[in-house]
Symmetry: C2
């Protein structure tokens, strides 16, 4: 037996008991006549004491030979501590050691195993197994596990069945690039790894499974941006005989359960906003509504004042930054510089201050008199002490730019508390979006999304205007889930493939099995998928996905710990009937 | 709203209520003046009634146009049925339909959607989404889900953390062939899909995770035998600071929980048997102990009687088939022919009958007198009416042959009731097995398995004799799980790689990261993995794994429904810097 108790378990209740503990040496404090060791495992830390008087000098000498991260086993008696530590569960006791066994030695670890470590990102990834020993990392993985369990139990209670769909599937160029897997048994042919189990979950609905979910790995061979992983995890869900409302209700319930578990608070009905309103009010289809600064459009008040920039602009729109009228010239210039950076690309920033003394002043005093400015200030509902920032330009561009500024100010003003949660449904997404580059429509959600019945006629006349029963769940400015009501009629699905520029042959080759399935009594169905890595990170008050993945890959898609990907043997290539064709 | 109730929900309690139902048309019985439809969904069947008198003749005409598997929605009133059907939950009521909407039509399905279908295996796989509509298939998937939930809840309650390990890993030629995934971002390099998360779970133990599990897809590119899938699911587990006993206890508890849930019965402590005893007693390391027929070795009684076959044999061993002394010559010849088939390869079968009249007779009366036969019968503990079957030859071969015969007799005599469960731990497996073909040792479990401490010295002198702390959980003659205490010392791990014929360079290239991890305080650890597909099948009283996989592949590794694997575009190959090299 390696231990009678874990290192997080003992308290004053066990004083006088003989115990066996195992774990890692966290710290050693050697005072000469007495030596303390903090012994660590997943469950906590227990203080061990060695002294020549109460135990033996041999034992003290043995303890002196230990190093950080040695794995040891001890036997000893639980005694009361003289100087108690109320910060840890075991802070009232220590163990007077009688026997010490070294289970394994350790080299000095390349970084400290502490919450605040001295190891850089790259080093910690190479020695990820040591990184995971740190409380902060381990707790994130445990948090992820708990969330997965909650999700599974909630959905199972709601009659959802977790069905494992295959990983070795067919390459279908929807959206991103597929990872492919050569088949040795079928030379020249390849499997693909799923970008999502989309078609399989629809087939399960056609198969009468009624309510399906799966927490499942998905794969995308994309050029990796920061914090994007080639393999990621989804909570994938689908329901039959439902409308949008049924889906929102179930997954609002799921999210409420998770939020309640984390915060202890009841989250009532989640607010909803149309895509159109979200774009108009926040310049963004995933607005962070933890703070206000709603967009106010002022074309009606600013045109025709001989200020050319505004007169030429399609849209003049601004935000009211509360209590910031005392921003200095320098502070405002910094914001202006920030929006002019190439990443944002704005041409400039106009400010209006409603000063604490009631005076209204602005950077455009030359064109706007006090009366003009007053009208603007009133439209914003600004109070004395507020700062209004205006931007102008082409509608979509200026909204995106102002949205970026709004988020930046949210950060600067500490309005984005990661432990505060503001969920929001964004609904009525457009069905299609026009791609300037390829000069064709793309599906905004995916090609299986149904148009709103009342917008179906637009598919003939003005497809870009057609809305879908598509919805996103947004949390704190992040899309954590999205889904749609699906097409379940083969004619409509063909029409959609046409609109998206698929030839009949391509559609048949790639989705023939789904189109065929639609001929045999497909039920109405709808679904949703959550990005589980992101969901977990945000629920834990964090935005770095990588921290919540046990063994993440770096930005080149490499696992630096195991050194993958790597070369394979010629024999393997030969068996696969493949040859390298390096450029 | 598509439905107010499911089709498994209504009973006499709802008589008089107006309801909306949706589902598939299972059957239509048209009696002219009245027409009944069985409406089906995942939850059950509800009988609909249309008649010209109580509803309208238009509605009756509409109903007449429906076909099997049409998806419909109806509104109507719950009424009492005249001829009740006690076999189904909704058998007391029917729905007098007032409104009918066809949600989707269906072609005539290629096979009947009934428990006993007329569709062959291949057709059902091609239209798997229709196959899943059959109760028997759907119930198997639901059973699988429930077992996964039970496992997750049990292990979570025991402080295990489910950690997702990566799917895109490194190719390591342990055991079977890897599937590989070319990396576009790292041309000429490949990921591999995991055959198991073995090294990652060991790294999690080194990382202090203490108790890990994962229900996870694994992959093996093997020539597929019947009922073997290229992707399969494991319950993968690992624990730190434990000995074999701790592992057996936890997973015995888990299996007891599942068995209790299924049978309602308490399964006490599971019996244990050493590998050596299992081989000696059942000729097999995964004995089915639902029935007896233990092997009895009779070298001491049969040698030196001038019966050359026995005199020349290394081992003469037999089983007592109870109450079969009345087997006819023809029946016994059939068994002899069965064991002589090339798959078994035995040279023959000797029988001894302890007849009901007390006379003992045999096929070797020429060499054995009554006294000789009596001694044998006594050693078997046979009763009047029993039949003893003896085989002889080289020890391992004859055991394997007799084991096959024992199983065949178990089947023939209906001693293998699939609803009866007999779990068994087999322990003390050999560490290594000698491979005649490659003339080197292979790891019997895997290269990370520790020798028993008391056998460590044998590694120098007689490695083939060394036993491991390795264990299998056997259920009804199937290995459902297996694991071992792991090596956690870098010297021992190097020594093991040496023994297995790895060069220093190969070991370093393939397992360098694990060997390196061992330098930083690896704790003692042990683990186990269950084959989840097989476990579920057996727990459900079935042995066909494929039935418990939603979208299985056929024996050539093909998904015939989606037609995968398939060719990919030249552009894809080009981006991967690969060329086909077809033979």
């Amino acid at each position: 037996m390696f231990r009678s108790h874990t290192n997080g378990e003992l308290s004053s209740k066990q004083i006088g008991q003989k115990v066996t503990l195992s774990g890692w040496v966290q710290t050693i404090r050697d005072k000469g006549f007495v030596l303390w060791i903090d012994l660590r495992d997943r469950y906590g830390i227990t203080q061990l004491v060695f002294d020549a008087e109460r135990t033996s000098s041999e034992l003290l000498d043995e303890a002196r030979k230990l190093g950080r991260e040695f794995v040891i086993q001890i036997e000893g008696n639980v005694i009361e501590r003289t100087s108690k530590n109320p910060n840890i569960a075991t802070g009232e006791i220590e163990i007077l050691v009688e026997k010490l066994t070294v289970l394994n030695e350790s080299l000095v670890p390349p970084f400290t195993i502490e919450d605040q470590t001295d190891g850089g990102e790259e080093l910690r990834m190479k020695y990820r197994y040591l990184d995971i020993r740190r409380n902060t990392v381990r707790e994130k993985l445990i948090f992820r596990h708990k969330m997965a369990q909650k999700v599974r139990n909630y959905l199972s209670d709601q009659n959802f069945i977790e069905v494992e769909t295959p990983v070795l599937i067919k390459s279908t160029p929807e959206g991103a690039r597929d990872f492919v897997v050569p088949s040795r048994m079928n030379p020249g042919q390849f499997y693909a790894l799923p970008q999502s189990p989309q078609t399989f979950k629809q087939l399960l609905m056609i198969g009468g499974m009624d309510r399906y979910f799966q927490i499942v790995k998905c794969f995308r061979d994309e050029d990796l941006r920061a914090d994007r992983q080639p393999e990621f995890t989804q909570i994938d869900c689908e329901m039959a005989f439902v409308e949008q409302e049924d889906v929102l209700e179930i997954f609002e319930g799921m999210t409420q359960t998770l939020l309640k578990d984390i915060t202890g608070k009841d989250f009532g009905k989640f607010p909803r906003m149309t895509f159109e309103d979200a774009m108009k009010t926040y310049g963004n289809d995933k607005p962070d509504i933890r703070f206000d600064m709603k967009f106010v459009e002022v074309n009606d008040l600013v045109k025709g004042k001989d200020f050319k920039i505004f007169d030429d602009a399609e849209l003049v729109v601004g935000i009211n930054v509360e209590n910031c009228a005392d921003y200095t010239r320098k502070q405002i210039d910094a914001l202006a510089d920030w929006v002019k950076r190439p990443q944002i690309g704005a041409s400039g920033l106009i400010w209006i201050k409603f000063q604490n003394d009631g005076v209204i002043t602005s950077s455009v005093n030359k064109f706007f008199n006090e009366e003009d400015l007053k009208k603007i200030v009133e439209k914003f509902g600004a109070k004395q002490g507020d700062l209004i920032l205006l931007m102008s330009g082409e509608t979509l561009k200026v909204r995106t730019q102002l949205s970026a500024l709004r988020m930046e100010l949210g950060n600067q003003l500490n309005l984005r508390n990661p432990k505060e949660f503001a969920p929001l449904w964004v609904v009525d997404f457009p069905l299609l979006e026009w791609d300037e580059e390829t000069e064709r429509f793309h599906a905004m959600h995916h090609p299986f999304t149904a148009p709103k019945p009342e917008d179906e006629h637009l598919l003939e006349t003005d497809p870009g205007k057609a809305r879908a029963n598509a919805y996103d769940l947004v949390l704190n400015g992040n899309e954590i889930g999205g889904g749609s009501v699906r097409i379940f009629d083969k004619e409509m699905q063909s029409r959609m493939f046409d609109l998206l520029g698929f030839t009949k042959e391509d559609a048949e080759a790639q989705f023939g099995f789904l189109m065929n399935a639609f001929k045999y009594g497909a039920p109405p169905h709808a679904g949703l998928a959550f990005g589980f890595d992101r969901l977990v990170a945000i629920l834990d008050g964090n935005e770095v996905i990588r921290d919540y993945i046990a063994f993440p890959k770096n930005n080149s898609g490499r696992d630096v710990m195991i050194d993958a990907p790597s070369k394979i043997a010629d024999l393997q290539l030969d068996e696969l009937e493949l040859k390298l064709n390096l450029k």
